[in-house]
C-alpha cells in the first residue's frame, strides 16, 4: 500500500448508541425503593442464616432462597469497611477527582453498600471510621440510593477491626 493510500484509510467512524431500560423491580425491591423515597432504609433477613441484606432484593444470593418475612429498618450510620481514593475520571461518574469510594457496613446490616465519602480530608480516610449519611434536601428525594449524597465522618471512636473484617 502506498503512503497516500494508507492515509486514505478510514480509521474512526462514530455510531452513537443510547440504551433506555425498562426495569421490573419486583415486590421486595419496589418496597425498598418506595421506602428510600421516604428517607427509610429497608433491609431484609435471609431465612437460612438470619443475615440482613441491604438493599433487599427478594432472594439470598448465597442460599438461593426467597427473602420474605418482615422488613428490617436500618439507621443511616455505619462503618467504613474498605475504600479507594480515585484519581481517574469517568463520564458516567459525575464527580470531581479525587473522590473517595467506600464500602460501608450500615449498623444492623450484614452486607456492604458501595457509596462515597465526603466532608473528610483525604489523609484522614481509614478503615473502621464511623460514618453517617448526608442526605439530599427532602424535596429532592427519589426512588434512589443517590438520595444519600455521601457518607461523612461521625465523631465516634473507630469500630473494632474484628467487627467488620469478614466483609472485606
Amino acid at each position: 500500500m502506498s503512503d497516500e493510500a494508507k492515509d486514505d484509510v478510514v480509521k474512526v467512524i462514530r455510531t452513537p448508541v443510547q440504551l433506555d431500560y425498562n426495569y421490573s423491580a419486583g415486590r421486595s425491591a419496589s418496597r425498598f425503593l418506595r421506602s428510600i423515597k421516604e428517607g427509610k432504609l429497608i433491609g431484609q433477613r435471609c431465612p437460612v442464616d438470619g443475615r440482613v441484606y441491604f438493599p433487599s432484593r427478594g432472594s439470598c444470593p448465597q442460599h438461593g432462597v426467597p427473602i420474605e418475612g418482615e422488613p428490617v429498618e436500618l439507621v443511616d450510620r455505619g462503618t467504613l469497611v474498605t475504600f479507594s481514593i480515585v484519581r481517574i475520571p469517568a463520564e458516567s461518574v459525575p464527580l470531581e477527582i479525587p473522590f473517595v469510594t467506600i464500602q460501608v457496613l450500615l449498623d444492623g446490616a450484614d452486607t456492604i453498600l458501595m457509596h462515597l465519602l465526603g466532608n473528610c480530608d483525604l489523609e484522614k480516610v481509614h478503615m473502621g471510621m464511623r460514618l453517617k449519611a448526608r442526605w439530599k434536601p427532602k424535596e429532592e428525594w427519589e426512588e434512589s440510593v443517590a438520595n444519600i449524597i455521601y457518607f461523612e465522618p461521625l465523631d465516634e471512636p473507630d469500630a473494632d477491626y474484628d467487627s467488620y473484617k469478614e466483609h472485606i
Binding site: 432484593r57 448465597q62 479507594s84 481514593i85 461518574v93 450484614d110 472485606i168
Partner: protein, 384 residues
C-alpha cells in the same frame, strides 16, 4: 473415561495499544494462522471452533462471533462462543479441551481476543444500576478496595505491588509479543507513578492492548505424531455470586475450591513443589501474592513473602508470569488464553528467552468478574 488431550499449536499476535493495521477479524486471523502453522495443519483439518472474548460492551459490538464466523473458520462447522468476563480466555481453553476430552471432536481451534483500541473498557465497566450509586470507575475502582483489604489483613510491606510491577515488566523484555517493553523500568518509577485508584498506582496496572491468542487441541493419537505436545493434565472452573453477606472478596471460596479440585485431578499434593512455573492472571500487581494464596500455592496471608523473597522471579523456585503477564499485555478477552498458552509453551520448551529450563508441569490461571469466575489448567511435557 476422558480422551487424553494435548495442545499441539499455539499462536498469538504482537500485542499493542493500537493494531490499526488489522480489523478484529484480521487480529484473530493472525493468531489463528500461527497456531495452525505450529500444529502443522490447515483450516480444513479443524472440526470445531471455540471463540471467547470479554463483555460485548467493550467494543460495543453485540455477539461479534456472528460476523467473525468466516474469519475464524467456523463456516459449516460447530462454533461456540464462551463468555465468563475477564476469565473468558481461560474458559475458552477449557471448553475447547472438553470437546476433545469428551470424544466429540478430534481437532479443535480456540481463539480469544480483544481490540481495546476500538473499545472503552473503563466506560463499559462503569455502570449505573438501580440499587447503587455509580462510584466504581473501571476495574481498578472495583479491585482497589480489595487490595487495601489484602494489605490490611496480611500486614505486608507496602512495596510488594511495586516489586511485582517491575518483575513482570522485566520479564516482558524477553517476550517479543508483549505490549509493554519498558527497558528503563525501576521501582522508583513505579513508586512515583500516579496513584490512580489508591492503593493502586498507574504502573501497578495492566495496559490496554489489542491482541489475540489461539490454540489447536487434539486427541492423544493425533498428538503423538507431533513433536512436543503439551498434555492437558487437568482443567477446572468455578464461579460464585458477586455479592453476598460475609463473602470473602479478597480470597473467594470459588478460587480455593477451584484450586483444590484442579490439583486433585492432576494428582498434585504440593503445588509449590510439583509445579515448575505458573502464568497467573495479575491485572493489578497486588494480585500476584493474592492469587498465590487463592491458588493454595502459599500459606494464607504469606503470598507476599514469595514475591519479596524472589521465589516468583524467573530464577526463583516458583516463577510466575514469565511472559510478562497481564501487567505487560492485556487484550482482555485473550488474556486468560494467553496465560494458558504460555503455560503450554513452557512445557513444550518453546517459550524462547523466557523459557524456564526443564519446565515439565505448568499452571495457567484466569479470573474475572468481581473475583467470581476462575478457570485454570495444568499442562505437562509428559502424559499424566
Amino acid at each position: 473415561m476422558a480422551e487424553l488431550t494435548a495442545v499441539v499449536g499455539i499462536g498469538q499476535t504482537h500485542h499493542k495499544a493500537k493494531r490499526i493495521d488489522v480489523s478484529q477479524a484480521g487480529l484473530i486471523r493472525e493468531a489463528a494462522e500461527r497456531a495452525l502453522e505450529d500444529a502443522q495443519c490447515t483450516w480444513k483439518d479443524i472440526d470445531a471452533v471455540v471463540i471467547g472474548k470479554a463483555p460485548d460492551m467493550f467494543e460495543g459490538i453485540m455477539m461479534p462471533e456472528l460476523f467473525l464466523n468466516d474469519a475464524i473458520g467456523g463456516a459449516y462447522k460447530p462454533m461456540i462462543r464462551v463468555h465468563t468476563a475477564g476469565s473468558v480466555g481461560g474458559s475458552t481453553g477449557v471448553v475447547a479441551a472438553s470437546l476433545v476430552q469428551a470424544g466429540i471432536h478430534e481437532r479443535v481451534l480456540c481463539v480469544a481476543y480483544e481490540k481495546q483500541s476500538e473499545s472503552n473498557a473503563t466506560w463499559a465497566l462503569t455502570i449505573s444500576m438501580p440499587f447503587a450509586v455509580a462510584t466504581v470507575v473501571g476495574a481498578g475502582g472495583y479491585f482497589a478496595p480489595l487490595v487495601r483489604g489484602y494489605i490490611a489483613r496480611s500486614d505486608c510491606p507496602e512495596d510488594v505491588g511495586i516489586k511485582v510491577a517491575v518483575k513482570d515488566r522485566l520479564n516482558a523484555l524477553k517476550n517479543p509479543y508483549a505490549h509493554l517493553h519498558m527497558e528503563d523500568i525501576t521501582e522508583d518509577m513505579v513508586r512515583e507513578s500516579p496513584m490512580l485508584w489508591d492503593p493502586i498506582r498507574y504502573l501497578e496496572t495492566c495496559p490496554s492492548s489489542d491482541g489475540a491468542c489461539a490454540m489447536v487441541m487434539t486427541t492423544e493419537k493425533l498428538a503423538e505424531a507431533c513433536k512436543n505436545p503439551a498434555w492437558i493434565h487437568a482443567t477446572e472452573m468455578r464461579s460464585e455470586p458477586t455479592m453476598f453477606s460475609g463473602r470473602d472478596q479478597v480470597m473467594p471460596q470459588a478460587s480455593l475450591d477451584n484450586a483444590a479440585a484442579l490439583y486433585k485431578k492432576a494428582g498434585i499434593s504440593n503445588p509449590r513443589k510439583e509445579i515448575d512455573c505458573a502464568e497467573i492472571y495479575v491485572p493489578f500487581a497486588w494480585f500476584e501474592p493474592m492469587w498465590m494464596e487463592g491458588m493454595l500455592i502459599s500459606e494464607r496471608n504469606k503470598g507476599w513473602e514469595m514475591t519479596l523473597s524472589g521465589a516468583t522471579a524467573l530464577d526463583g523456585d516458583f516463577p510466575v508470569n514469565m511472559s510478562g503477564g497481564v501487567l505487560s499485555s492485556n487484550p482482555i478477552g485473550a488474556s486468560g488464553l494467553l496465560r494458558f498458552a504460555e503455560a503450554a509453551l513452557q512445557v513444550r520448551g518453546m517459550a524462547g528467552d523466557h523459557q524456564i529450563d526443564g519446565a515439565k508441569r505448568a499452571l495457567g490461571h484466569a479470573y474475572g468478574g468481581g473475583s467470581q469466575y476462575f478457570s485454570t489448567w495444568i499442562v505437562g511435557s509428559q502424559k499424566p
